[in-house]
Symmetry: none
Subunit: 288 residues, 2 copies
Amino acid sequence: MGGSISELIGDRLAAMPAGERRAAQALIADYPLTGLKTVAEFASRAGVSSPTILRFVSRLDFHNYADFQSALQSELIEQVQSPLLRTRRHSALPAGGLDQFAEAVASNIEETFAHFHAEDMNRLTQILADPKRSIHLIGGRFTDALASYMSAHLRIIRADVQHVAGQESNWRDALVDMGKRDVLIIFDIRRYQESLFAFGKMAAGLGVTVILFTDQWLSPIARLAKHTVTCRTAVPSAWDSSASLFAIVEVLVAQLTLEGGATAAKRIAGLEALRGGVPGPDGDRNAR
Amino acid sequence: MGGSISELIGDRLAAMPAGERRAAQALIADYPLTGLKTVAEFASRAGVSSPTILRFVSRLDFHNYADFQSALQSELIEQVQSPLLRTRRHSALPAGGLDQFAEAVASNIEETFAHFHAEDMNRLTQILADPKRSIHLIGGRFTDALASYMSAHLRIIRADVQHVAGQESNWRDALVDMGKRDVLIIFDIRRYQESLFAFGKMAAGLGVTVILFTDQWLSPIARLAKHTVTCRTAVPSAWDSSASLFAIVEVLVAQLTLEGGATAAKRIAGLEALRGGVPGPDGDRNAR
DNA sequence: ACCGTTATGTATGATTTGATACGCAAATGC
DNA sequence: GCATTTGCGTATCAAATCATACATAACGGT
């Protein structure tokens, strides 16, 4: 069983008596800190008695409290030391529709990355890291969420990032400020949106550098785009899966953060500091 | 490099007597595992006696062994939780990281689905398919995009779907209309947002059914949630990956569409017909 | 080579910790 | 509504832990 302890708890939470459930909740409240304390401390934080803690631990199939703590520690250390040592732990599973879907998504992602080479990424990061350029992002009906996700991250790494959203009338406003220095990132998978193509065409006419994320059947926008990233989207569902686009976005953001190095780190630190004092409109991420 | 304690050791290593130096080396060898064991165990591994360990700890300006261990634990937890620090760690890694990243995301998704059983999905779809309920979705700083993505799909399958977005003041307005029939879907991965917890708590107080999508370390909202879906998020990056949450959302939408059957199909057809007349300007995208 | 200093291990004590037995309360079933 | 089961807390015990005192060994300077 390669699962984390918190997952184990999640599985068994329903089958626990009230007291032990309180123990579980106290543990996950600031996981895994409380579990590393003494039994008495744990009990106190959970508002139950020591034996209840021990019964709780026992219910998780640990022979004693020491074993339990060791497991927590190992979990922590594994996280820090080898981020993905646990990768391929294929446990033989009954193949239901669920697993088929998961398999499909996973293989989509792998296929997508197989065709997305280091040079592709370098070209993209070079453009996106350029501080002299402004970046605009837009997506279709469903893929707009991807534009939103990417812009949320980019905004932290660098300045001049705009997510073009909302009514189409807003789009026009965004266009007037665009020029040769600007970059437009478009997400478009089938069924491709007419309006996105129109928008991209106008932008391209202004000399904007268009970057397109699309599926393997290629949005018509590919004709306009300077760079096109092709992602697999086929899954056993009524809908196409955008998960592989999502993953590509994530790896780009990761790489940009890495390359930004000191600059990005400083910027992030600055934002964090600001956040501490003035809770932003975006919601204050708690510093813990 | 590691945290402050290992640095501290490095600084003082030269000024230490032989025995304590052996202790230090044993600790560094598989840092910080040995330091979390008992004094006797530590001594045994270092090939010295217990008092030497205690003197070693004392030389690092810790008042007692317990303090020392607490410091090690805090350091570990700190590293796991702070994205900034991880940037440093990974910048040392070789740049062949593309495939590693893809591997990590793929295996995250598989692991996530391995713990997401058919019953879990049934419970969720049963709730989400109930036309008598209203559905509200909300996400954190980055995960809000997931809420957006899911709501875009849900809105097509069924009525009464609201994406709670924008300023926090808007959130309050959404609350007043909620009641026992309502469902609140929250996306929250670390670093968990205080504001989301507050929102969820108020909703739960109103009797709203809270469904939580979170990472394997569990958002504190798990305490409030009727159903919690645990997803893997660890990747070799400064950021956590939400791709597995994304995939779970997709499979839920797929299943709901399937179960909806005729009803959903009719609804979709109706919407398509409406859209057919007015091409493209996805007017039904929610405002932000 | 001797002496003083420092370092280290052995032995022991005081304290804390985890574990268990038992009795009462709450929940469940008939 | 009663009886049985299940859960939970108090009190207690045994064991392991940290901490210290002391004697011995190693080291370094003269």
